[in-house]
């Protein structure tokens, strides 16, 4: 059997990649995709712990996360389309009007 640590390291790497994507990329759609990667990194951790502890809880939570992620993707993409119509750009730095 593959030890738990392998899963956790893989999950951490995926999460780091996702986080880096959120901060580094200048495209809203890419950022959304990066967030999906982070969510899936978390999902992997849940499943790994569920398996290691012999419990179904982790898998159940993962179903919830996937559902929320689907909804989030739908809403997020809709917002991105709205924003694009507004300013013909997908760069998040185009929208900084809400400040002092």
């Amino acid at each position: 059997m593959v030890p738990l640590n392998y899963y956790l390291v893989l999950s951490a790497m995926l999460f780091a990649i996702g986080t880096a994507g959120v901060f580094v990329r200048r495209n809203l759609i890419t950022i959304l995709l990066s967030i999906e990667i982070m969510l899936n990194a978390v999902n992997l951790t849940f499943v790994a712990f569920g398996r290691a502890l012999g419990s179904a809880d982790g898998q159940i939570i993962v179903f919830f996360v996937m559902t929320v992620a689907a909804a989030e993707a739908a809403v997020g993409l809709a917002i991105v389309i709205g924003l694009f119509r507004h300013r013909e750009s997908l760069n998040p730095d185009s929208w900084t009007a809400l400040k002092w």
Partner: protein, 654 residues
């Protein structure tokens, strides 16, 4: 029954204050006089009932409700009529009624709203004064005490458009407040010491104690109470407001600043006679202050030219006599002088009011003269009042003043007696100076006064503005109208007869229960009494003779004297510069400290600085912190991430 005595004038006040301007002058005057007359009737009925009781249980108590009840402390709203209060309510309601009647004529030139305002204040004053004398504990008395002070302020400043009048009102109020501060402290200390503020209970608690040898708690209590008395009754050092109080309408001077309110301090000492008797140190202070005030005010009165100011200083001087009596333990004599003084001083003030009225607002003695012919009623009544106050035998002032001087001598205060006698001489001189200057000789032709502008007191000039129509100088003099004449004549009769109340010690025996258990020792030495009486009579007649010589026979001699002693004259004319000294020693330092330290340093720098500083600090900090809000979602996400990392790092770090 007892409650109705102060309530009726209060009702009159409410009616006149609410509807006075609409019901017209005649009705407003009638309401005010009616309320006082009804109150007087009830007062007489109550006193008759009181007199029919056994001498040992002579008191009518009427408890309205429990006012304050807190822990051990209870204060009932209780009125108590005992012989001392009986004398006072008769004076307040009786003379008060006469002065109300007099005022209906004196104030007839005012407009209807002003007229109603005047009478509402006058009625309110009477209500508070009656509350003061009937209250059975310090708290009820204090309500009246403050109330009369308020009415005094309102009435002194009645013609408030005139700057000097409103200033005088404020001065009276503030000086009284200083005294009241001492009074309140005295009451609080009395409560701490005796656990009650009821006069009877305090007297019962104090009676078994032996008089304090040194300077103990009771001495401090009584001394603080006396500070209150000096404010209300215009004694050194707080007498300065009374002469200025003459800015008010003359009937007000008669009622408040001669007959009733200013005697409240004397009454208060009489009310707490037992307590004061246990503090010989305080009694000495009271006697010395009273005597000093009597002499000082008497000398000032000699040279003043404003007729009302002479009378005001005369009042201060006579109040000094009353305090002298209180100080030597002759409580009955002091209250008796209060009683007779109320008659003749009210008479003198009302007489001077009639003069001023007839002369169209003129108050300067130098511009009067020869009025005997034109104003016979005023002349004769004023003369009776002057004779009474001077102490000529057969008139009221003789009995009371002689009694005080005799008691002073009998109690071994020969020095105080000498000063008292000298003051009696001065009294006769300054009173007959008025009589001779105003009623005899010739009236000087029109304007003479501006020759001595520096001697002119500010108030004397202000006297012209006593009423809108007072300004014109009438060519035809008219004597007192019927309402004024009635008051003058009744008071003149009182000024003659009031003294006989004391014949055979009746007055003293009547008052005795109020001062119990202090027994007034019977003085047996008739020879001494007669000798002293003869000396007093000599002083009174001598004073009149001196006044007659200087102001009737040989006025040039008076002028020569004035030139000879120009320094003394200036000192007296400027009232020993007491107002200036107070101004320099107290008023200006307070003003300077208030302005430069309290206002410009503490208020502006510290308090405003703190308030504004807080605001500025928040603004400054916000100016920096608002840069954090960039509007960029990625920046927020970065800070969120950084925060999570830091928190996790903090907790997970091994």
């Amino acid at each position: 029954m007892l409650l109705a005595i102060p309530l009726l004038p209060l009702l009159g006040f409410l009616i006149n204050a609410s509807f006075g301007r609409r019901i017209g002058k005649a009705a407003a005057g009638a309401v005010a006089c009616g309320a006082m007359l009804a109150s007087f009737a009830i007062a007489v009925a109550s006193v008759v009932r009181l007199a029919s009781l056994e001498p040992d249980s002579r008191a009518i108590v009427s408890r309205a409700f429990t006012w304050i009840s807190s822990g051990d402390f209870t204060a009932d709203f209780t009125l108590r009529l005992d012989p001392l209060a009986a004398v006072m309510i008769l004076v307040v309601t009786g003379i008060g009624t006469l002065i109300h009647v007099y005022s209906t004529a004196y104030m007839h030139e005012e407009t209807a709203p002003e007229y109603a305002r005047y009478f509402s204040y006058l009625n309110l004053f009477a209500a508070f004064m009656l509350l003061l004398v009937l209250g059975s504990n310090f708290l009820v008395m204090f309500v009246g005490w403050e109330g009369v002070g308020l009415c005094s302020y309102l009435l002194i400043g009645f013609w408030f458009e005139k700057r000097s009048a409103s200033d005088a009102g404020k001065k009276a109020f503030i000086v009284n407040r200083i005294g009241d501060f001492g009074f309140v402290l005295g009451v609080l200390l009395a409560f701490v010491r005796f656990g009650t503020i009821d006069f009877q209970q305090i007297a019962r608690a104090a009676a078994p104690m032996s008089p304090e040898a040194g300077f103990g708690t009771i001495s401090i209590i009584t001394l603080l109470l006396f500070v209150g008395a000096t404010g209300k009754s215009a004694q050194i050092p707080l007498y300065v407001w009374l002469p200025d109080a003459m800015e008010g309408p003359t009937p007000v001077s008669a009622l408040i600043h001669a007959a009733t309110m200013v005697t409240a301090g004397v009454y208060m000492i009489g009310r707490n006679a037992v307590l004061f008797a246990h503090a010989p140190a305080t009694l000495t202070v009271v006697a010395v202050i009273g005597t000093a005030t009597a002499l000082m005010a008497g000398t000032i009165a000699l040279v003043q030219n404003d007729i009302k100011r002479v009378l005001a200083y005369s009042t201060v001087s006579q109040l000094g006599y009353m305090f002298l009596a209180m100080g030597v333990g002759a409580y009955a004599a002091g209250i008796f002088h209060l009683f007779t003084h109320a008659f003749f001083k009210a008479l003198l003030f009302l007489g001077s009011g009639a003069l001023i009225h007839a002369l169209g607002g003129e108050q300067d003695l130098r511009r009067m003269g020869g009025l005997k012919r034109d104003l016979p009623i005023t002349y004769w009544t004023f003369l009776i009042g002057s004779i009474a106050i001077a102490g000529v035998p057969g008139f009221a002032g003789f009995f009371s003043k002689d009694e005080i001087l005799f008691r002073t001598f009998a109690s071994g205060h020969a020095a105080l007696w000498t000063v008292g006698l000298l003051t009696a001489l001065l009294t006769a001189i300054y009173m007959f100076r008025i009589v001779f200057l105003a009623f005899f000789g010739e009236r000087p032709p029109e304007p003479v006064a501006p020759a001595h502008p520096e001697e002119e007191e500010p108030a004397a000039k202000g006297g012209h503005a006593t009423g809108p129509t007072h300004l014109t100088h009438p060519t035809h003099l008219h004597d007192a109208p019927p309402a004024m004449a009635l008051a003058l004549i009744v008071l003149a009769i009182g000024s003659v007869l009031a003294g006989y109340a004391s014949l055979g010690g009746r007055f003293e025996r009547f008052l005795e229960p109020s001062f119990a258990p202090e027994r007034v020792e019977e003085v047996a030495d008739r020879g001494l009494e007669l000798t002293l009486t003869a000396v007093s009579i000599a002083a009174a007649l001598g004073g009149i003779a001196i006044a007659a010589y200087f102001f009737l026979k040989n006025r040039r001699a008076a002028d020569r004297m004035a030139e000879r002693f120009a320094g003394v004259r200036r000192l007296l004319q400027n009232k020993y510069y007491v107002d200036e000294i107070y101004d320099g020693a107290i008023v200006q330092p307070i003003r300077i400290v208030s302005e430069n330290a309290l206002w410009k340093a503490i208020d502006v720098r510290v308090i405003d600085g703190a308030v504004n500083g807080v605001g500025e600090a928040v603004t400054g900090a916000s100016d920096i912190l608002r840069r954090l809000q960039t509007g960029s979602v990625r920046a927020y996400a970065a800070s969120l991430f950084l925060g999570v990392v830091l928190i996790l790092g903090y907790y997970l770090w091994p």
